[in-house]
Symmetry: C2
Subunit: 371 residues, 2 copies
């Protein structure tokens, strides 16, 4: 949210960057290039701050914060890495104040703005925009009658959707985390790019992805409350799904409808998905806030019915995630109750690097003809 995806401007900035390097011209104050990713996967960060006493960079692929050096023109810089191909969050710290990189338009907003830097792979990674067929991302505003407010909604349609006359597509409802918005799964999560790449390799069935807004009036993004599940469920079922079905060629069969989410959205996916087996055949929970107490007991009250109806219950979590213990306990409960599921325990923490991977692993499993 909060920012656009890698756009043509950035691609051209990269081209320009390489030209500047080829002619050996030094970046000056007026045209600082930052970040610059080198072919050897090292990354140079630059900031023009002639009056600062100390400038550091905080980036996910380096330990702690790293002090930058100043040249005679007041340009601070540092080269770090090499980094594994991935998308990393970073920010500058200028005399103790955390700021964004002013010349990098790729911003991830979560309570505050930070920047993203993409380190590409060879062959290209699953999250990289490649020269394949591209789906379309649709930005909607709809009236939620159940909540009495106007809300945002993003919808991805796969390559060929507009020109094909295919009757029906399967649909994934994909939910964001606390503090995020309806655009976070595309802008930060690259859900559209990941889907494009999977489809180009024939690794998944062409699908529509619906990304609603997960906060509700009683649990706004700055609250710490997760108590919005009932409101969210009502909005999704009474407003979002009918709105989507009126406008897109999506199947209304539960075997063609999936729900998944991360963190708070994982808790919503479990609550709404397992609580409405007549609507959803496929449920994915990424690093989830697991429902607790009676709510959880109710969801898991009929294991036999769940096993009969549910095509997939997929639970992923990283070992360093602060929600790991809760997810482990949930997986043990599923085992005890003999609920069929896929446990996907991985490295990593509560972090978009994990969620992009989970989406890339989850989507190919969906909408198979047989369980």
């Amino acid at each position: 949210m909060r920012t656009r995806q890698l756009s043509s401007a950035v691609l051209f900035a990269a081209v320009l960057a390489s030209l500047v390097l080829q002619v050996g011209a030094a970046a000056h104050a007026g045209q600082v290039i930052s970040p610059e990713v080198h072919p050897n996967l090292r990354v140079t960060f630059r900031l023009h701050a002639p009056r600062a006493d100390r400038v550091e960079v905080s980036v996910q692929f380096a330990e702690d914060v790293q002090p930058m050096s100043k040249d005679n023109n007041g340009l601070w810089s540092i080269t770090l890495g090499p980094a594994e191909p991935d998308i990393y969050v970073y920010s500058f710290i200028v005399d103790g104040l955390e700021i964004t990189d002013p010349v990098n338009p790729i911003i991830k907003f979560w309570r505050t703005s930070k920047n993203l830097v993409e380190v590409p792979g060879e062959p290209p990674m699953f999250f990289q925009e490649q020269r394949v067929g591209h789906g379309v991302v649709h930005i909607h505003k709809y009236e939620s009658r159940s909540l009495g407010v106007t809300r945002g909604l993003y919808v991805y349609t796969p390559p060929g959707y507009e020109t094909s006359q295919n009757a029906q597509y399967p649909v994934l409802y994909l939910l964001h985390g606390m503090g995020d918005s309806e655009d976070t799964w595309t802008v930060v999560g690259r859900a559209n790019v990941i889907a494009d790449n999977l489809l180009a390799k024939n690794k998944a069935r062409p699908l529509v992805i619906v990304m609603p807004y997960g906060h509700t009036p009683s649990a706004p993004p700055d609250s710490r409350s997760l108590d919005n599940y009932r409101e969210f469920e009502k909005d999704l079922i009474e407003d979002v799904i009918p709105y989507v079905q009126e406008r897109y060629r999506v199947s209304s069969d539960r075997k063609d409808r999936a729900i998944a989410g991360l963190s708070m959205g994982g808790g919503q996916a479990l609550t709404v998905g397992l609580g409405n087996l007549e609507l959803f055949g496929w449920v994915g929970a990424f690093s989830s806030a697991i429902p607790r107490g009676k709510k959880l007991d109710d969801l898991l009250a009929e294991p036999k019915l769940m096993n009969k109806k549910l095509d997939l219950l997929w639970v992923g979590c990283g070992r360093k995630d602060f929600l790991f213990d809760a997810n482990k306990k949930f997986l043990e409960t599923l085992k005890t109750k003999k609920v069929k599921h896929v446990a996907h325990i991985t490295d990593g923490a509560h972090d978009w690097r994990i969620w992009r991977r989970y989406l890339n692993e989850f989507v190919p499993l969906l909408f198979k003809a047989d369980k």
Copy 2:
């Protein structure tokens, strides 16, 4: 570009802000609220920077930069205005370094990031998101065969487009300025919101708005070159228009096709529009980089043919615009050559506050049955 539009998260942040004020709680470091627009149209800016010696705000509705004051918790603040209802650019200056407001996700990127603050009107202004029918903004990536690259493309469809079976809609090709991208007209210019509001008041014909990317490989966004018109024209006519016509129910009649743009995009609109009268019936030039020399002579070579074919040539410019003299001279040339046109000289400079207004004034003139 570079940022999302006012999203649900921001609306909730505003709700939260008012709650915080109601209970009299002071904003602390962890939950700074900035900017805060008061009912009296004054605006409070806040930044938590305990180690800074001097913090200022630069905002379009105040003269110069304004020094902010620090409280005991290191929270700097200032209240300015009242401001006329509008959307203003602002940034903070911390010990001489210009930075964005870290807690405001609404960012305008143009070479560097700055923030936007919306001061609402009563009744609501034409650029404010209101409770009316909302069109859809579609984010495309297409292969430009003429340029050999993948490019971004935004398309607005009006309320009702998806559910109506209307055969054909008129279409406006809307071009951005130098250094902008395909998303700038929606994210910064609010073209979709402006169209929604016009349509809700029945002030315009329902239309599709196509917003292509205006830079080309030989004139990337960081160049100062305007010499991309030929490449842009080729891409628009050979790639963009066919791509749009294949996917959207748009008329291919020149009387239903308009082209307009701002600054560099105004120069492109004049070049492509006046140079292809068989394709475009309506041309708008906002604060334009006017074509010069032989190029201009060629465009205006046949005034009688232009007057016969062209439904509208609309030229707008602000008196404080650095391009005002060039636009005045262009208008004089049109007069001398007896080319029918509308001259729209206004207050203001080279600035989005003007371009939003121009769009709001231009769209209602389009696609009338008779000249």
